[in-house]
């Protein structure tokens, strides 16, 4: 009896084991399309990037609810590059070679993108990059769904110059590649509009700078010359709060010297005491406060997914939303997830923006986008005070820098180049 029991016990365990392996085999037999998510979940950049990971998971879950893609389910593969730039490249390689993902959605800082770039190109995969950046780049394997300088910085300058009648400019930024390049473009642009060199003040500060007393005092002095002054800020991340606090404390209001920022959005504002910021401006391609039906639905979906009715949405989230949906459309059009076919299919794909208008993937791998300028409100939202009438086409190579003026990017035949010189009619390859 005992023996029998033991035997049946054993067989049941065995059969259970067989069953289990059977089911796992069945699961792995059902093919999935893997999507890589390469956003920092720890370290300094986790503050911005965690949200984008959640956005991607939500978008993928939504697509699976609709029946997946090409009859297969999508499977997100999340890795954590931990705000460590070389690790971004390593993790990208892991995603492509080990996990065999069809495409990667990821990166935030330019330096992380630059670190991933050689890997993505070598293995001929696809990266969707959702953040506004300094331009001067166009890779065959990267789709830039964030704004190029002409879709954020230049329209903001135009607004200040024409509507606010700003005559004196402070270009303040954190000391790294995005502010340096953007300010170089802006300085050239301002000078081309007849602004005198002595009416431009450029200032760089280290990452996480927290003592703004003397710089704000300088800005105050610079702004008291009787001409309308504005600050164009490419100050990054954590340095912003102490900066705005100091402005408020030294009695500079948005009416005296407005600050227009390119790195401050709803997400950043949700962690700030907004009192000293009211009236200062931000330029983006998306604001949560836009009340189009698409946007309201998106916000609702986001709140339901995160189970937090207070979570905000922001511009890079919209970029991922557009990028992901465009990728889905391109894969459907190509009928495969094979990289070259998808890259080709991507160009010309259209998808509606959340704020209205139809975004289109251009041959230079950038998008056409609306540009919005909003004033910061006490509740941390941005209230649109100005927007472009039409969509602005992303320009990879700035027309305001002499060295990049003749260069264009076009990934369609016959040019098929990200760095094509229209004067010499030569493609200089990827030397960025």
């Amino acid at each position: 009896m005992k023996k029998f029991l033991r035997k049946t016990g054993l067989t049941s365990v065995l059969s259970a084991l067989v069953l289990m392996t059977g089911t796992t085999a069945a699961v792995s037999a059902e093919e999935t399309i893997k999507v890589g998510i390469l956003h920092s979940l720890s370290g300094t950049m986790a503050i911005s990037e965690t949200t984008l990971k959640d956005t991607m998971l939500m978008l993928i879950a939504e697509q699976n609810k609709k029946g997946g893609l090409l009859g297969k389910k999508l499977e997100p593969v999340v890795v954590d590059p931990a705000s460590n730039w070389p690790l971004f490249a390593e993790k990208a390689r892991e995603l492509i070679t080990k996990e065999k993902v069809a495409s990667i959605f990821g990166c935030w800082t330019s330096v992380s993108r630059k670190s991933v770039l050689p890997v993505i190109e070598e293995l001929n995969s696809i990266l969707f990059y959702p953040v506004q950046y300094e331009g001067e780049e166009s890779s065959k394997n990267v789709f830039y769904t964030g704004a190029a300088p002409n879709q954020q910085a230049i329209p903001a300058i135009n607004y200040l110059m024409n509507d606010i009648k700003v005559k004196r400019w402070v270009l303040a930024g954190t000391d790294y590649v995005y502010p340096r390049t953007t300010n170089k473009i802006l300085e050239a642009y301002l000078k081309s509009k007849g602004v005198d060199a002595k009416d431009i003040m450029i200032n760089y500060t280290p990452f996480g700078h927290s003592d703004w007393q003397s710089i704000v005092a300088d800005i105050k002095k610079f702004g008291s010359a009787g001409k309308k002054t504005a600050v164009v800020s490419t100050i990054n991340g954590d340095a912003n709060i102490p900066f705005y606090k100091e402005l408020g404390n030294q009695g500079i209001s948005a009416e005296d010297i407005p600050v227009v920022a390119f790195s401050v959005g709803e997400e950043e504002l949700s962690g700030m005491d907004t009192k000293p910021l009211v009236g200062h401006m931000a330029a983006w391609n998306y604001f949560m406060s836009e009340d189009s039906t698409k946007n309201v639905a998106f916000i609702k979906q986001w709140h339901a997914y995160t189970k937090d009715p207070k979570r905000v949405t922001n511009d890079p989230m919209e970029a991922h939303y557009i990028g992901f949906n465009m990728w889905v459309k391109a894969v459907e059009k190509a009928g495969t997830t094979e990289s070259n076919a998808v890259q080709k299919a991507m160009i010309g794909i259209k998808f509606p923006n959340l704020t209205g208008g139809l975004a289109q993937m251009l041959p230079n791998h950038h998008l056409s986008k609306p540009v919005l300028i909003g004033e910061i409100q006490e509740d941390g939202q941005l209230f649109t005070v100005w927007q472009t009438n039409t969509l602005v086409k992303g320009d990879a190579w700035s027309d305001f820098l002499p060295e990049s003026k003749p260069i264009i990017a076009d990934w369609t035949a016959p040019i098929n180049c990200g760095n094509y010189n229209t004067n010499t009619k030569k493609c200089s390859g990827q030397n960025y």
Binding site: S42, A46, S210, Q213, K245, N249, E255, Q377
Partner: protein
């Protein structure tokens, strides 16, 4: 005697006449409008404020101003302060004041209180900068007639930002009756600045003479503009005499300006130094006195800052009080965590600095990620109480921000408190004994293990208190500690390990050095220069500014 009595009466009468004249003329315009358009009552004018288009809102504001209703200034002020809302249910315009989680609302047109409502019931009426400054100007014009000289001064200051012929005329009428010296002083400056635009040379010279006495940035800029040359190298100002006078006036103002500038730089330096001292002083105890290389020191500050955040969440209606209560609370939280770390990890590693460094670095990562998991990786917003915002405006050249002043005072208080603990209490005595000679202290019956735990707790607790101060000037986020840890070690090593006075002097001198260098070297280079200086200094004097003396130092 009789004359003296009647004089003010005359003035009052004059003002009354003027007021009634202005209001009747306003009423006249209002009447004209009413004839032209359909009949606009005050309440329809108020309800027009809710239109979405900004330009229509501007017209609505202009219409509202035409009414002679005292409530209009209340409405406009509420609009600027972001307190004007639209009731979603019946479309009424209300002024809402936040009370706990709800809003207490009153009807805008009558000021009648109509009870408490939920956040979702009302919708804010949004305006932009242009409307904001427009309204501020309107309010200022109305306030010019206020009985309170402070309000008049604010109004004059507001109007002086954008002088035009119309506002100048209003100010000139004010000057005729104004008696408050501050307001008169400000008016004089405005008129002097304006007189430089005159075509009459004597008026201009007189204007320059007045500007010479003023401590005003505007005066400096205006006088400097008179010295400028155009692109062909010729003076824009053709009159040589005017240029000469302007120059001498400028020199005179500049000498005063120089003094204020130096004062300002020293204040900036001291306040930066105060932050450094606050951050480093806890480390001066754990690292300086105990010799523990505590890489998790920054995270103790972070915990203190998060404690402030939690306290504000607990009592959202008493921001100032919650900040005060956060000080002991942060001390307790960070102190207890510190004792936990000491008992759990560090005590097993005494005498092995490398392992301590690695272990505490690990602890710092654990704490950071723990905060990320509990509070989310996003920064948390800590509200600055009213009394700590704004600045103490001494004059146009010099204003000291309140939050920095408070932190400076707070830093000195914490320092004295710590010094007294180490000097006057039994714990202090034991700490000093253990740090000088552990074995001898043990032989004398001092419970060294307990003293170690208490000392580490004290150092960590002080770091927590520093975190409360930091929450007022920087972000409260998981990375708060990281950005200060290097500075902390720098200050302690520069000041001399084991010496609190050294930390104080080092913190302040590094702060001032940084601020003196910053204007011409830039923030990035200034930091590098200070670091290079410290490296060289440590080469020469490895034990810092105030080295420990005696036998204890050699061991």
């Amino acid at each position: 005697m009789k004359d003296r009595v009647t004089y003010p009466v005359h003035i009052v009468f004059l003002i009354l006449m003027l007021c009634s004249f202005i209001s009747t003329s306003n009423a006249q315009i209002a009447q004209d409008d009413q004839i032209e358009q359909e009949k606009i009552t005050f309440s329809t004018a108020v309800s027009k404020l809710k239109v979405r288009s900004l330009s229509a809102k501007g017209t609505a504001i202009e219409q509202l101003v035409q009414f002679d209703n005292p409530q209009k200034i209340v409405i406009l002020q509420a609009l600027v302060d972001g307190k004007l809302f639209e009731d979603r249910e019946n479309g009424q315009i209300v002024i809402a004041e936040k009370k706990a989680e709800k809003f207490s609302i009153e009807l805008a047109e009558s000021g009648k209180n109509i009870g408490l409502v939920d956040n979702s019931v009302i919708k804010k009426i949004r305006i932009n900068n242009r409307l904001r400054s427009k309204i501020r100007n309107i309010i200022a014009e109305i306030r010019l007639n206020s009985a309170d000289p402070d309000q008049r001064l604010q109004a004059v200051k507001m109007l002086s930002k954008s002088i035009n012929p119309a506002s100048l005329k209003i100010l000139k009428t004010l000057a005729e009756t104004e008696k408050d010296s501050d307001v008169l002083d400000k008016l004089q400056l405005i008129f002097a600045l304006d007189s430089l635009n005159s075509s009459d040379r004597t008026i201009r010279l007189k204007g320059i003479e007045t500007l010479k006495q003023k401590t005003s940035l505007k005066a400096v800029n205006r006088l400097q503009a008179l010295q400028e040359k155009n692109s062909e190298g010729q003076f824009i100002e053709p009159d040589a005499e005017i240029r000469k006078q302007a120059k001498s006036a400028l020199v005179k103002i500049q000498s005063r300006l120089q003094f204020y500038h130096v004062t300002e730089t020293i204040f900036f330096g001291l306040s930066l130094g105060a932050v450094l001292v606050l951050a480093a002083i806890g480390l001066a105890i754990t690292f300086g006195v105990m010799g523990v290389i505590n890489m998790a020191h920054g995270e103790m500050m972070m915990l203190g800052a998060y404690t402030t955040y939690v306290m504000q969440q607990i009592m959202p209606n008493h921001i100032a009080l919650s900040l005060l209560l956060s000080i002991p609370a942060a001390f307790m939280v960070s102190g207890l965590v510190g004792i936990g770390i000491e008992r759990g990890i560090i005590r097993h590693l005494y005498g092995r600095p490398l392992e301590t460094l690695l272990a505490t670095f690990g602890v710092s990562l654990v704490l950071q990620q723990a905060v990320r998991s509990i509070f989310s990786p996003l920064n948390r917003s800590v509200i600055t109480p009213e009394f700590m915002s704004g600045s103490w405006q001494i004059n146009d050249f010099l204003s000291l921000t309140w939050n920095r002043l408070y932190i400076l005072v707070f830093c000195l208080l914490v320092f004295t408190f710590l010094l007294q603990i180490l000097k006057r209490t039994r714990l202090g005595l034991e700490v000093r004994a253990v740090s000088q000679n552990r074995n001898m202290a043990k032989a004398m019956g001092i419970p060294t293990a307990r003293v170690d735990a208490m000392t580490f707790g004290l150092g960590s607790g002080i770091a927590g208190v520093a975190g409360v101060a930091l929450s007022q000037i920087t972000n409260v986020g998981p990375n708060l500690g990281q950005s200060y840890i290097v500075d902390c070690f720098m200050v302690v090593v520069f000041g001399g390990v084991g010496n609190l006075w050294g930390t104080l002097v080092a913190g302040f001198s590094l702060g001032i050095a940084n601020k003196v260098l910053e204007p011409f070297a830039g923030a990035v280079l200034a930091k590098i220069l200070v670091l290079i200086f410290i490296i060289l200094f440590i080469q020469k004097r490895p034990r810092g500014l105030f080295p420990q003396k005696g036998r204890a130092a050699e061991s």
